[in-house]
């Protein structure tokens, strides 16, 4: 498998602020790679370094095996789709798309042909003469993509291009982008702060925080077995308990939480009894009124504080009995739980395999 983009030990400092701190990763040909992180984590800086708009302070960036050091953006085989798309308002759609081809000095007939083909690809046939401000949000999006793809870059970089769209369109474009990428097979590097965009579209996701990569993995692994507390909290929702290990072996630990409950959970790393730990639990890991004969469940009672209805994503907001820890519990909309009302007392159970346990970290977001 060919490696299209290799970033090796890249850092970027602005005066004494470290925006990107020793980041390395590789992106394989034809894959969809996302960098996910909160705003200000350095992901845009990283992308601009790949595009060549910013020079790294240290490290190398290789595209298809060629070092990009000192090569200006107009000579790199990558193209960037800007957050606000940056379509040229002084040109029509056709001229926008032909811009890169003209710079490259392609023949006129070739340009006309290529523009026509790419417009067909993004389903905008016949839009050549339209002005940029006559297009809808989704159409602008596709023109911006076409303008880059027509140059057949080795890697297409996307800087949160869906951020400016409204929710409905964003959901739609997510699926469309994924389909488009699969169809044309160009390598995509996509940055976003929206975890659902990253999870839905990507083959691999890197989670970035304060200039470093916390974890690079498939979306499933990021969600199911995060490497760090940051990933556990940032990717998807999680309930957190602080506590201390009472006793443990290689695989399972017994934890006494600060609100006085005893839980058994699997552990991924070596821990000793007495260690301070944080326990993370997904909302959907908690079962409401589980069958009495299910084994290996941590069972406890909660008081329902509120019902947060959000369609398929509905939750219960609850406190454990005699404690004020706030818990989010998934509420499946199968009518099975319609009887649950505010201030009801219900039993909750979770499997010891679904807990995620980390030693207490100093820096919590």
């Amino acid at each position: 498998m060919q490696i299209d983009l290799a970033v090796k030990d890249v850092s970027k400092n602005f005066d004494d602020f470290v925006a990107v701190d020793n980041v390395s990763f590789e992106v394989a040909d034809g894959s969809f790679f996302s960098i996910l992180g909160p705003s200000g984590c350095g992901k845009t800086t990283l992308l601009r370094m790949i595009a060549g708009l910013t020079e790294p302070s240290a490290g190398t960036i290789e595209i298809r095996g060629k070092s990009m050091r000192g090569i200006p953006p107009n000579k790199r085989p990558v193209n960037l789709i800007f957050q606000h798309l940056a379509l040229f308002p002084m040109m029509n759609v056709g001229e926008n798309i032909a811009f890169g081809l003209r710079r490259r000095g392609d023949a006129k007939a070739t340009i006309i042909n290529k523009v026509k083909t790419i417009l067909e690809r993004v389903e905008l046939t016949g839009f050549d003469d339209k002005k940029v401000d006559q297009l809808s949000g989704g159409q602008k999006q596709r023109v911006a993509i076409a303008r880059c793809l027509v140059l057949e870059p080795a890697v297409l970089l996307l800087d949160e291009p869906l951020g400016a769209l409204d929710l409905k369109l964003r959901e739609q474009m997510k699926v469309e982008l994924k389909k488009l990428q699969a169809k044309i097979g160009t390598t995509f590097v996509y940055i976003t702060h929206d975890q659902s965009e990253a999870l839905v579209m990507s083959d691999h996701v890197a989670v970035m925080n304060q200039g470093v990569f916390e974890q690079i993995d498939t979306p499933q692994n990021l969600y199911n077995s995060p490497d760090t507390p940051f990933v556990a909290q940032f990717v998807g929702d999680n309930n957190t308990w602080s506590g201390r290990i009472r006793q443990c072996d290689q695989k399972v630990a017994e934890i006494e939480t600060n609100d006085g409950r005893l839980f058994r959970t699997k552990i991924q790393q070596q821990l000793q009894s007495g260690d301070e730990v944080d326990l993370f639990l997904r909302p959907e890991a908690m079962l409401i009124e589980p069958d009495a004969d299910l084994a290996n469940l941590n069972r406890f009672e909660v008081i329902v504080k509120d019902l947060l209805f959000d369609g398929a994503n509905s939750r219960l907001l609850a406190n454990p009995l005699d404690a004020d820890t706030e818990l989010l519990i998934a509420l499946p909309q199968t009518h099975q739980y319609d009887y649950i009302q505010k201030n009801d007392k219900i039993e909750i159970g979770w499997d010891e395999q679904s807990g995620i346990c980390f030693p207490r970290s100093q820096k919590m977001p």
Binding site: A51, G52, L53, P72, P73, N74, K75, N79, L80, F82, Q83, H84, A86, F88, P89, M90, F99, G100, R103, R104, R147, C148, L151
Partner: protein
């Protein structure tokens, strides 16, 4: 209520209308009438196109006229060529903190009158001036050269005087240019020149045109700078008008020249707008 509003409008509009009518329209009507009047052999005033015919029959008049027009266009163009990088630097390159400061620096020379500024240039450029002094001291020249009273010196002075009127409108249009457009063009393979001609100038056209109109008008109607820095050889059409009014006391001929200048500037501005496909309304905004 409606009546009150109308009175309010009248109250605020009256000074402007009065000003325009008394100071601009009336004198112009008078001058227009005068430009068609000529003294005949018996010393009586009569209607005639003679003043205008004079202009075409006497080469010195229309040659000065053409010269003035061409030089004004040249000055406008040079001002633009210098002002664009300056405006670009102020809006896009320099730290935004210093933007206001730089604009004030640009404005500073305009706090003294044009006369003082022109004399400043004369002190620098004349035969016994500052520049000649240093060139002699450094041994680059053996004897001083006269840098004043040439066309090039006059153009220098005119460009200097016009700079601000070109920089300010261009700064304001470049301010609204999204930096990511420049970066996108760069990313798509454009070099510096393509970015300049395909992105920056098309975006800045309204500002460039409005700056050019102002600079062109000011240059065409300038009297002081061509007179003092251009000397005897560099005749400007305004000097011809001045001569008619003051030296020859021929007000009728002077007004005819004045109107020719008015027509000339209107035609050039109209042509400029047509060529750049702009309209006055958009540019004035």
């Amino acid at each position: 209520m409606k009546n009150q509003k109308r009175w309010g409008l009248f109250f605020f509009l009256a000074p402007v209308v009065l000003w325009l009518f008394v100071m601009i329209v009336l004198p112009h009507i008078d001058l227009l009438v005068m430009s068609f009047r000529l003294e005949n052999d018996e010393g009586q005033m009569m209607w005639s196109l003679g003043n205008y015919l004079n202009f075409f029959e006497e080469p010195i008049y229309w040659l000065t006229f053409v010269r003035t027009a061409l030089y004004s266009i040249l000055v406008t163009f040079l001002t633009f060529v210098i002002a664009l990088p300056v405006a670009f630097y102020i809006t896009k390159v320099v730290n935004p903190k210093y933007q206001g400061f730089l604009l004030v620096l640009l404005l500073l020379p305009f706090w003294v009158s044009e006369l003082v500024r022109v004399y400043g240039w004369m002190i620098l450029l004349r035969e016994s001036g500052v520049i000649n002094h240093f060139l002699l001291k450094l041994g680059i020249l053996n004897q001083p050269i006269e840098m004043l009273y040439r066309d090039s010196t006059m153009i220098l002075g005119l460009v200097y005087t016009s700079m601000l009127f070109m920089v300010v409108p261009i700064v304001s249009v470049l301010d609204s240019l999204d930096n990511s457009l420049i970066e996108a063009a760069y990313d798509l393979g454009a070099n510096m020149w393509t970015i300049l001609f395909k992105i920056i100038i098309p975006h800045a056209t309204p500002g460039i045109v409005s700056g050019s109109i102002v600079v062109f008008m000011l240059t065409l109607g300038n009297y002081l700078t061509p007179n003092l820095m251009g000397g005897k050889n560099s005749l400007w059409f305004t000097e011809q008008i001045y001569n008619q009014f003051i030296a020859s006391f021929n007000w009728n001929q002077g007004s005819a020249f004045g109107f020719l200048l008015l027509v000339l500037s209107s035609i050039v501005v109209w042509l400029g707008l047509k060529l750049t496909r702009q309209n006055l309304k958009k540019v004035v905004q």
